[in-house]
Structures are given as structure tokens and as C-alpha cells.
């Protein structure tokens, strides 16, 4: 069980030739841990998430999912184990919340299949889990951005909820979250942080990008700092998440201060 859920080995990637934006990324994410990717705007955080998803293929290096190269996974098996919570995904069509969350059951259905009552039940539980069960039949355009984000979370939860997986793999699920707390008010932010902690308790592994060192500090066991021109640094939060590293990352004097036994980020 010590095999990492997700590993990146010497991964490099760029969008245009000869201009890599990520160089030599190494990362080992073990089961039941939360890792945060921190970096300035444009440093490649979201790109890294797309590489972890397999949506982008690295120029060099390899992404490993549960001991096998990611590119060897069938899309169905991969999508049962790894789900994405994208940032601000919008559609011009007026699906209801439950219909949208049900889309998360796609990896379990044949191409011509329809969701069953059991799938609807799983979708309902996922909505319950993020606390918006009451919104099930609300059309998407009527949601606040906070509710929308929680709904995307619910879809990902419905996607990795799989009673069919063998029990030793029960904890082998991975959530990729792109800026999960962006655009959320304090209350929803606290709610989402609590949900993510709850998932960690269940053994789910989470990899998130964040603009907010505070959120990362509150959640992350591991941290990856993505800086321009420097090989990214990955390690346990206590080691990597230092005032010096943050100051360099954001090029801003930053202090970490203990408040009531918890570290807080301050800047001037």
C-alpha cells in the first residue's frame, strides 16, 4: 500500500516548441493525502493538473497512476479512479443539478447505457455529501457560483463512488481540483475545506491547485511549489511551506505567524 497513487517522474511540458513552462517535475502522492500546487499566475499550475489527468501528454518523463503509466490506462478504468473538479465550468444549457451530477456516472455505463435508479441514488448521496441536496431539481443558471462549485464537487464524488471496485482498491481514488475555493465566500470556503478533509478521512487522495496559501496551509499534507525557471519543489508541507519559499514564489515579503497554534500567512 506504499505505492504512490500518482507519480510524476521528470515531467516536462510546454505549449509551444522550445518554450517549456514546466521542467523536471517530480511528485509522489500517497493514498489519503492532500497535495497543493502553489505558484504565481501563469506558472503552470493548471497545466500540471491537466498532465496529471492525462489530458496533456508530457514532452518528457512519465505520469504514473497507481503503479502503471497513465497512458496505458483505458479511459473507462482511469475515469473510475480519477475525477476532475474543473474551475468555473459553464454550459449554455439549463440542465438541472441532479442531471448534471448524474453525468459523473458515465464511466460505469456502456456507451448506449442509461443511468439506473442506483446511479440516481449515488448522485443524490453525492449532493447530500456536499450539502446541496435541496437544490437537486434546480436549473444550473439559477445557481450561485458557490453552489455551482459545490455541484461540480458532487459530480466528481459521484464519479469516484464505486461499490464495484475491489475492497483493497477502495481508497485508490484520486480527485484533481482546479482552484476549488476560487470565487467562494468564507462560509462556502470553510464548507469545501471541511468536505475535502472528510474525503481524506475516507482515504481519498486529493491534488489541488491554489492561489491561496491560506487554503493550502489549512489543508495540504504535501506541497508543490511551481516557480518560473526553477525546478519545482515537492515535499511535506512542514518542510516546503516556509516563509522564505513563499516570499520567493510571490516575490513579496511573507511571514508565517502562529495564531492559536495554527500557522497563518501574512503579507505586507
Amino acid at each position: 500500500m506504499n505505492q504512490p497513487i500518482l507519480s510524476l517522474r521528470n515531467v516536462s511540458f510546454g505549449y509551444s516548441p522550445h518554450q517549456p513552462i514546466l521542467r523536471d517535475v517530480n511528485l509522489d502522492l500517497r493514498a489519503g493525502r492532500i497535495a497543493a500546487i502553489l505558484g504565481a499566475n501563469g506558472a503552470g499550475k493548471t497545466t500540471l493538473l491537466s498532465l496529471a489527468l492525462g489530458w496533456l501528454s508530457p514532452w518528457q518523463g512519465e505520469v504514473w497512476l497507481m503503479g502503471a503509466p497513465l497512458r496505458k490506462w483505458s479511459s473507462r478504468e482511469r475515469s473510475r479512479r480519477m475525477a476532475l473538479v474543473p474551475q468555473g465550468e459553464h454550459t449554455p444549457f439549463d440542465y438541472t443539478v441532479i442531471e448534471y451530477v448524474l453525468l459523473g456516472r458515465a464511466p460505469y455505463l456502456s456507451p448506449l447505457g442509461m443511468p439506473t435508479a442506483a446511479d440516481v441514488e449515488i448522485a443524490r448521496q453525492a449532493l447530500e455529501q456536499v450539502g446541496i441536496a435541496a437544490l437537486a431539481s434546480r436549473p444550473l443558471p439559477q445557481l450561485s457560483s458557490g453552489e455551482h462549485q459545490l455541484m461540480l464537487m458532487a459530480r466528481a464524488l459521484a464519479q469516484i463512488a464505486s461499490p464495484a471496485l475491489p475492497s483493497e482498491e477502495a481508497s485508490a481514488r484520486l480527485l484533481l481540483l482546479d482552484e476549488p475555493t476560487a470565487h467562494l465566500d468564507l462560509r462556502n470556503k470553510a464548507r469545501l475545506i471541511a468536505i475535502m478533509r472528510g474525503l481524506r478521512e475516507l482515504g481519498v487522495t486529493l491534488l489541488m491547485t491554489s492561489h491561496e496559501p491560506d487554503v493550502a496551509l489549512a489543508l495540504a499534507d504535501d506541497v508543490l511549489l511551481v516557480e518560473k525557471g526553477v525546478p519545482p519543489q515537492f515535499g511535506a508541507a512542514e518542510e516546503v511551506f516556509t516563509a522564505e519559499a513563499l516570499s520567493r514564489l510571490y516575490q513579496l515579503p511573507i511571514r508565517l505567524v502562529d495564531v492559536d497554534g495554527r500557522k497563518r500567512v501574512f503579507w505586507t
Binding site: R78, S79, R80, L84, F93, L103, G104, P107, P111, G113
Partner: protein, 328 residues
């Protein structure tokens, strides 16, 4: 009423409209043939079987196909303004028909084959061009390619119209562009039937998973959708039968744009319901319009004019009314 019941109701309505349409016409007098009379009127039997039935079935297939293709493409492109012909298909067919009328003698079969050929050529061009463009996402590339190909064909069509003999060829081109089913016979219907049925079947069986393709590409990838492959399968399943039917009907505007809106308005977006609903509504709508086209006056009214007129009116009425709701 639940969505399921509403679909059933639409199906019953479709059958009723089809039976009604087989009986209505201008023989023996404008109006309708009493069913009792058919048994001993041999002319009525032949009229219904040889003329009205193939025409009725073509109108039905045409409406179902255009509406289904509209639903598929609007979702796939995340754009409620897309219509089935936009990937170079409609303009390609129009160019092909005009080309045949001017240079190939304009016989019916040649014109239809030429229209179908250029419609598919339009689709093929759009596809290849989209693959060659080197910027933007998949959707943007395909839309741009479709616009470019349509523009090329419509420029070509303009040139052909300019070259056409204004007394003989131009009216023929115009008539083809307005669309109609007056010349439909069994062999013509049977020629396009396999394409239409195959496309409709694929799209219908895919009706739930179609929802996934409405999501952005990365998200649908994360949900296990094969990038590219499933999209192209659905695009071809939607556009191929459209090209085939346009080749026998000419341009039939607005069905593919407006019927999907009506279906979504009544059944919400979930394609599990809105797709079959659009097929049924499209069928009913086109058959009724064609009834009017052939019975209203002694001469034929081009079907394309009626579908545009009534499509727009129904659309406006629906959009200004309170949204009706169906339960799941």
C-alpha cells in the same frame, strides 16, 4: 405530466398526424378522403400508396433527421444557434444542385446525386480543414472551417446563379433552394432511407451519453469520453442523413434550428428526453407543413417557406409564454 408520458403523447400524436396526412389532399375534392371510400376507389388507393405515402414518410424522416441533427450539433458545439447544415453541408448541397442544373443537364437524378455529393464534400472539407487549422480548440476550429467552406460554396452558388439562364435555369435553381417534396417517389425515398435510419438510430441510442459531449473537452475526457472519436461518430451520424435528405428535398430551413429549442423548452436539456422529443416534434411539424404545402392551393407552396414561417411563429409564441414544466 412526466417527461416519459409527454413523449408517449407526442408519439401518439405523430401517428395520428401521419394517418390524417395520408387521407388529406386535393382528391377527390380539396379536403379529405373518407376512409370508407378508399376500399372501393382504386384511384384513391393508388394515390395514397404511390404518391402520398412516400412523400409523407420522407417529410417525417426529414423532420426527424433535421431536428435530431440540430440537437446533436447544438450540444456538441455548445451553441444554441448552430443548425444541421452549417458544416458546409447546406451550401454544398445548394451549390451541387445549381451546378447540375446548369452544367449537367439538370435531370432529377443527376441533380440529387450532385447535391448529395457536394453536401458530403462540404462536410469532408470542413473536417479536413478543421484538422489542418493550427490554433484554437477543436470547436473553434470546426466552426471556423464550417463557416469558411460554407462561404466558398455560397460564393460559388452566387457565381452559378449569375451564369444561369434567367428564363430556364434560374427558376429551377430558385425552386430547388426553396425546397419541396412534390417529386418524391418510392425509389427516391428508398435511396435515402438507409442513411436516414442509420443516422437516427445511432443518435437515438446515444441519447444519454450525448450529454457528456456538451461538456468542455477536458471535462468530458475526465469522464472517460474518447477525445475526437465519439464526437466525430455523432457528427457523421447527424450530418450524413441530413445531406442525404437535403439532396431529395432541397433546402428546408429552420426545422433543425427551432425544433431543438422547442424540445428543450418543453423537456429541458437532458438529451435522454429532449432528443426523442425533438425527433417527434420535428416529424409532426414537417409533416403538417407539407400537408399545407400540397393542399392549401392548387399549386404547390415550397415547403421551405412554410417551415420557416410556422417555425418562427411557434418559436416566438413559445419563447414569450411562461415556461411549461414537465416532471422527470
Amino acid at each position: 405530466m412526466s417527461q416519459r408520458q409527454a413523449l408517449l403523447l407526442l408519439l401518439v400524436l405523430l401517428v395520428a398526424v401521419a394517418v390524417f396526412s395520408a387521407l388529406v389532399g386535393r382528391y377527390p375534392a380539396p379536403g379529405w378522403i373518407a376512409p370508407a371510400r378508399i376500399a372501393d376507389d382504386e384511384l384513391a388507393q393508388r394515390l395514397i400508396f404511390n404518391l402520398r405515402l412516400p412523400r409523407l414518410l420522407t417529410a417525417l424522416l426529414l423532420g426527424m433527421t433535421l431536428a435530431a441533427a440540430g440537437v446533436v450539433l447544438q450540444l456538441l458545439f455548445g451553441n444554441p444557434l448552430v443548425e444541421p447544415g452549417f458544416l458546409g453541408v447546406s451550401q454544398g448541397a445548394a451549390f451541387g444542385a445549381a451546378f447540375a442544373i446548369i452544367f449537367l443537364g439538370g435531370a432529377g437524378l443527376i441533380t440529387r446525386l450532385s447535391a448529395a455529393f457536394f453536401a458530403l464534400l462540404g462536410l469532408g472539407f470542413s473536417y479536413l480543414l478543421a484538422r489542418r487549422l493550427r490554433f484554437g480548440g477543436w470547436l473553434l476550429r470546426l466552426i471556423l472551417a464550417g463557416i469558411a467552406v460554407s462561404a466558398l460554396f455560397s460564393a460559388g452558388l452566387g457565381l452559378l446563379k449569375y451564369l444561369a439562364d434567367p428564363l430556364t435555369q434560374l427558376p429551377e435553381i430558385t425552386f430547388w433552394l426553396l425546397g419541396g417534396l412534390a417529386s418524391i417517389t418510392w425509389p427516391r425515398l428508398l435511396g435515402v432511407l438507409p442513411f436516414a435510419l442509420l443516422g437516427l438510430l445511432v443518435v437515438f441510442l446515444y441519447r444519454w451519453r450525448l450529454n457528456l459531449l456538451a461538456l468542455n473537452e477536458q471535462t468530458s475526457f475526465s469522464l472517460g469520453v474518447a477525445p475526437g472519436r465519439e464526437r466525430w461518430l455523432l457528427i457523421f451520424a447527424a450530418v450524413l442523413p441530413t445531406a442525404a435528405l437535403i439532396s431529395v428535398s432541397g433546402m428546408i430551413g429552420w426545422v433543425g434550428l427551432i425544433v431543438p429549442h422547442i424540445a428543450r423548452r418543453l423537456f429541458r436539456t437532458d438529451t435522454r428526453y429532449s432528443l426523442p422529443a425533438a425527433m417527434l416534434i420535428g416529424g409532426i411539424f414537417t409533416v403538417l407543413c407539407d400537408d399545407l404545402a400540397r393542399t392549401l392551393f392548387a399549386g404547390e407552396i415550397p415547403l421551405g417557406i412554410l417551415t420557416s414561417l410556422f417555425g418562427a411563429l411557434i418559436f416566438l409564441a413559445l419563447m414569450s409564454l411562461q415556461q411549461p414544466r414537465l416532471r422527470r
